[in-house]
């Protein structure tokens, strides 16, 4: 008998994946693969189709058309087998307010057919992992937003999943809570857990994702690592200029464009500021000043995925 070779078959494979609600198309024929051990992200604004995609992968929403396999299985017909190996952190916390912190994990383990003893062993370990041990016997309601999020992550790990789906894991959290969460996700990734997440925060995508797709209006508009996307679609640096409202120069976008002409690869005029895409921000700032352009504030920064998104869609990610 020949042993089955160690395959590098994708954990998730989608081709022409489509989700329609009546006449509304939420996901419009997207293609992507997620490899084992990778941290893969869907970046896009609200309504781009990220959550619909995640729900199809999580086998809680039927696939309308196209091809989707998770662990090589068919979500429409083998959902329970897929879900048994999946961890899910939904957008809403969906915690049980009638139960204590510990009980929330215990019963979730039972849903995965763990024995009570095994469920308790894992729950205790996971509460330690997310630093909630001392809140074990408290009800869920008084917990802070960050704590609830950590509890949801602990809950999603009770079945020791090899693939973790996270739908906007840190939306609504303060910076400190976000960093703690990112740290835990990073540790999971180190342990070999495949992460698949959606976000509309570009810093989150940059922090966590090895590779991501940018989604807009139900389609994938770009794919690559954060670095690749920045290299491909924008320049290394961005010069941000803000102008004072009262001055003549202000609304005269043609005037500003003229002054910046030839200094940059691309100029993007937003309502509140002007973005100048260039390899060397300092040099461009100096040259613009030389040409007599007087900005109220000048900032040189590295290009981010936010700039990539603006370039690809003509719109900002977070309105």
């Amino acid at each position: 008998m020949i042993a089955k070779p160690e395959t590098s078959a994708p954990l998730i494979h989608a081709q022409g994946l489509t989700k329609r609600f009546g006449s509304f198309t939420a996901v419009d024929g997207i293609d992507f693969d997620v490899a084992p051990g990778e941290a893969f992200g869907f970046l896009g604004p609200n309504g781009a189709g990220k959550t619909s995609t995640m729900r199809m992968i999580g086998t809680v929403s039927p696939v309308t058309a196209g091809e989707l396999t998770v662990f090589g299985l068919d979500p429409n017909h083998q959902g329970a087998k897929i879900r048994a190996r999946l961890g899910v952190v939904p957008q809403a916390d969906t915690l049980d307010n009638e139960l204590s912190v510990l009980e929330n994990l215990l019963i979730y383990g039972r849903y995965f057919d763990l024995s009570w003893a095994e469920s308790r062993r894992r729950a205790t370990e996971l509460l330690d992992f997310v630093q909630l041990t001392e809140r074990s016997n408290d009800k869920v309601e008084p917990l802070s937003g960050g704590m609830k999020r950590r509890l949801v992550i602990a809950r999603s790990l009770i079945n020791e999943p090899s693939l973790l789906l996270l739908d906007e894991p840190t939306t609504g959290l303060d910076p400190q809570a976000r960093h703690l969460l990112w740290d835990r996700l990073y540790r999971l990734k180190q342990k070999g857990v495949t992460l698949c997440l959606t976000t509309h925060y570009m810093d989150e995508a940059e922090q966590l994702c090895d590779r991501l797709v940018v989604m807009d209006q139900a389609r994938i508009v770009a794919e690559g690592s954060p670095r690749q996307l920045i290299d491909r679609y924008v320049t290394r640096e961005v010069l941000e200029l803000r102008f004072r409202r009262a001055e003549d120069e202000l609304d005269d976008s043609a005037h500003i464009d003229g002054k910046l002409h030839g200094l940059a690869e691309r100029v993007e005029q937003l309502p509140d500021r002007v973005l100048v895409y260039t390899a060397d921000g300092e040099a461009a700032a100096a040259a613009a000043y030389e040409r007599g352009l007087r900005a109220a504030s000048v900032l040189v920064r590295r290009a981010t995925l936010e700039d990539v998104f603006l370039r690809l869609t003509g719109r900002s990610l977070v309105e």
Partner: protein
């Protein structure tokens, strides 16, 4: 053990899997933290009702002696109240708590991320409602026996009748709940459905005393059948054909309600 799948598309091959027992476990875990309240309420409510209405009000009713067969009023309403309180509890449990799991806390959605399916949630929570109706009815029976309010030992079979009545209400109400976006509809359901049934299904007086045009309405309500069946058992006046009809009517409503629940749960939770 092979995993039974409840597929997202096409007709489900099974009614629910054994995983629905996990949902019952969840409800028992919640119950565990407040079970003493259930016991205290489950004993005190029947006691208060039976003393006030059966003994207090019964004093005046019995004086006129015009209940069928000269039955004491306490004996007349005791099995009926046993059934109605199981029905009331089941109706309540099928409304607000289920709405919470679907819409407010969305704990059903969390459960659906595990191997559990929508049908498991429906079947599991109906089992819980059946369990709760059993517990309440047994406690009610204890009070009935303690007050000497049952003529026949057959009164013990009023418990399964009450549980069946509870499910005949729970199943269609759960199905209805899964179609609602808020609890607005429940007020109408209780005001125009449950409360009138409680009052006019032969609980407190024979339906023969209703205006003639309302009597057919009573026959088609499940509560009337539950009350009539439990009363015939408690009074030891069982007519086999009538009892069979009553039980069959209750079972039919429960089964139809469950079928409706399968459809509405799927429409609501699998999108």
């Amino acid at each position: 053990m092979a995993v039974v799948d409840l597929p997202l598309v096409g007709r489900p091959r099974v009614i629910a899997s054994r995983r629905s027992l996990r949902v019952l476990e969840h409800d028992l875990l919640v119950f565990r933290s407040g079970w003493t309240n259930y016991i205290v309420a489950g004993l005190s409510q029947p006691f208060l009702y039976l003393v006030a209405m059966g003994i207090g009000l019964g004093l005046y009713v019995n004086r006129n002696g015009n209940l069928p067969g000269g039955v004491p009023y306490l004996d007349y309403i005791a099995p009926a109240l046993l059934v109605t309180q199981a029905m009331m509890a089941a109706a309540f449990e099928s409304a607000w708590p289920i709405m919470g799991k679907i819409e407010w806390d969305k704990t059903y959605h969390a459960a659906l991320n595990t191997p559990l399916g929508a049908m498991d949630l429906l079947a599991g929570d109906l089992m819980w409602i059946g369990f709760r109706a059993t517990l309440l009815s047994v406690l009610f029976l204890v009070v009935i026996v303690a007050l000497g309010a049952a003529a026949s030992p057959l009164v013990v079979f009023a418990v399964p009748v009450a549980v069946l009545t509870a499910l005949a209400f729970a199943a269609p109400i759960i199905a209805f709940t899964a179609t609602q976006k808020s609890d607005q509809g429940f007020n109408a359901l209780f005001r125009f459905g449950i409360t009138p049934l409680f009052l006019f299904s032969g609980t407190f007086f024979p339906i023969e005393k209703l205006p003639i045009f309302l009597q057919p309405l009573a026959w088609i309500t499940p509560l009337y059948h539950g009350v009539a069946a439990a009363r015939s058992l408690a009074l030891g006046q069982v007519e086999p054909v009538a009892l069979t009809v009553h039980v069959a009517a209750l079972a039919a409503v429960a089964v139809l309600g469950f079928a409706a629940g399968r459809a509405t749960f799927r429409r609501r939770l699998v999108v």
